[in-house]
Subunit: 348 residues, 2 copies
Amino acid sequence: MATTGFHVAVVGATGAVGQQMLRTLETKDFPIKKLTLLSSSRSAGTVLKFKDEDIVVMEAKPESFEGVDIALFSAGGNISKLFAKEAVKRGAIVIDNTSAFRMDPEVPLVVPEVNEEDLKSHNGIIANPNCSTIQMVVALEPIRKAYGLDKVIVSTYQAVSGAGAAAIAELHNQTHSIIKGESFNPEILPVKGDKKHYQIAFNAVPQIDKFEENGYTFEEMKMINETKKIMHMPELKVAATCVRLPVETGHSESVYFEVQHESIEVEDIRSLLRDADGVTLQDNPKEQLYPMPAYAVGKSDVFVGRIRKDLDEDKGFHMWVVSDNLLKGAAWNSVQIAESLVKLGLVK
Amino acid sequence: MATTGFHVAVVGATGAVGQQMLRTLETKDFPIKKLTLLSSSRSAGTVLKFKDEDIVVMEAKPESFEGVDIALFSAGGNISKLFAKEAVKRGAIVIDNTSAFRMDPEVPLVVPEVNEEDLKSHNGIIANPNCSTIQMVVALEPIRKAYGLDKVIVSTYQAVSGAGAAAIAELHNQTHSIIKGESFNPEILPVKGDKKHYQIAFNAVPQIDKFEENGYTFEEMKMINETKKIMHMPELKVAATCVRLPVETGHSESVYFEVQHESIEVEDIRSLLRDADGVTLQDNPKEQLYPMPAYAVGKSDVFVGRIRKDLDEDKGFHMWVVSDNLLKGAAWNSVQIAESLVKLGLVK
């Protein structure tokens, strides 16, 4: 731990994303003078390593946030609703990785490559978008800026780690059972709190989060609404179908989009994305170069490939977008927001 | 074997689809008086069971088709190109499951629920469409008939069995290796004859078949071109992104489509598909009822669910289409074509 820097709290430190937050704070060398690790009472007492130091995880309480500069929340929406305002009251800036405040008009929803400026209007809480939204807007923003954007239709291929550590364990255990010819009982996926559970190993499940009244899932509506908010485009047409796959980490997306300018070619889009912040272009069909989740794990960037012009619509294009959902989709985007806050002089 | 019925030949009897053809001929009780099983020289000599009878697989030669009424080909495009016309010359009707003749204007490309009538114009060879195309057009045709169809954008979630028995083995072996923490060397997928091979277990690979010059894969172009041909709609806008998953059998598709009529509602589409030939509607979000590949294996039907109206386009809808790629996508559609030929009196 450094002697200068910030007092950072991580809420939900023992979870799948919390673990990645610790690793990301280490690898990106965020300036930390004190690190407080918090969790529910259930996980309190766990000892976690940070830069070779042992830190005991404490149960989150309102008083836990005394003196904290930046609090990274990732312990579920209910914990955020309970404690985020308590933390703000005590002078912390909260970067919340749950859906609790994302659509609150008072709360900026930020992907630094897209709308870093929105941080300036924060009122103590900043929301980190949904994982599947983040990687898509990082790829779309340079295109919107250069050529305008009218319409997006996305089908996702999402990893189980988005549903937490228990879902990862379920994929492993089921895969084991199926290979050994043993029976098994789905208990977590597709949605922990929902009525029915289905096999995920060697399957594709078209449900992420619960269903809304309109037949879309919450995950699909998150992609639709968050994209419009982050890009400041309430008029943008966005449609989403979200599907869970037997992949541990790494979300993929098949994205169709229509630009506003005419006669744009694939090479124009490639040039933009080759130089875009946070994007690695992997797009060479001749060399079978395209992004894949198994090869994106552990990397911070959003990988884009398979860019093609639609064969019927002059303004239509297709692309394939892959990223580590625990990093750019969660931990890294949160730490990046913290970095932007420091850079913009927004942390006291 | 019955004393009346037809002399049927199965070419490629030892392959993943060939095996399913034998099982389908059994379960659908197709009228067979003689069954000839053929293969390349490599697999000749294998003994296969059909209705408790042992049949020795013979090497395919032009003479093998003497006296054959119906020849079901599924041994790769090269074998079809070599022998289909030889079979026709000897009086057989060929039902070809490869891509060899699909886009030949002289060859009907048939999905019986959609364009059975096209069989009447056959010249000896009938092509069975690509697996991913078949299940999509079965779901789209009732919609087209009732409300017209302008546009289709599909993203696929395809099983490895579409790439043959070696690809199934590769998925199994890799999964084993990864679980045990052992190293492995991808050798088959995504495309056996292509330069590079990638991990398929716990991954998603956006390449099925080789790339064309335009950046689309052959699989994607098959879906685009075959859909137009089967539905007799050269003007239909179709776009496809095809992705291979760690699923053994069962293709899934996220399909966006635009109808021509105005003010159609989800319940209108559901009503149509509830009564459609070859379709099982599984669509009740409240009960988490939707199709999934792991639960569609071994079934003949095309399963449709997740039907939603697009939130921006009055004429736009989304649906999720699943089917057993070895059955309706291959063996069952081929046998169904044979049944239609018999029903229409087209077999001598």
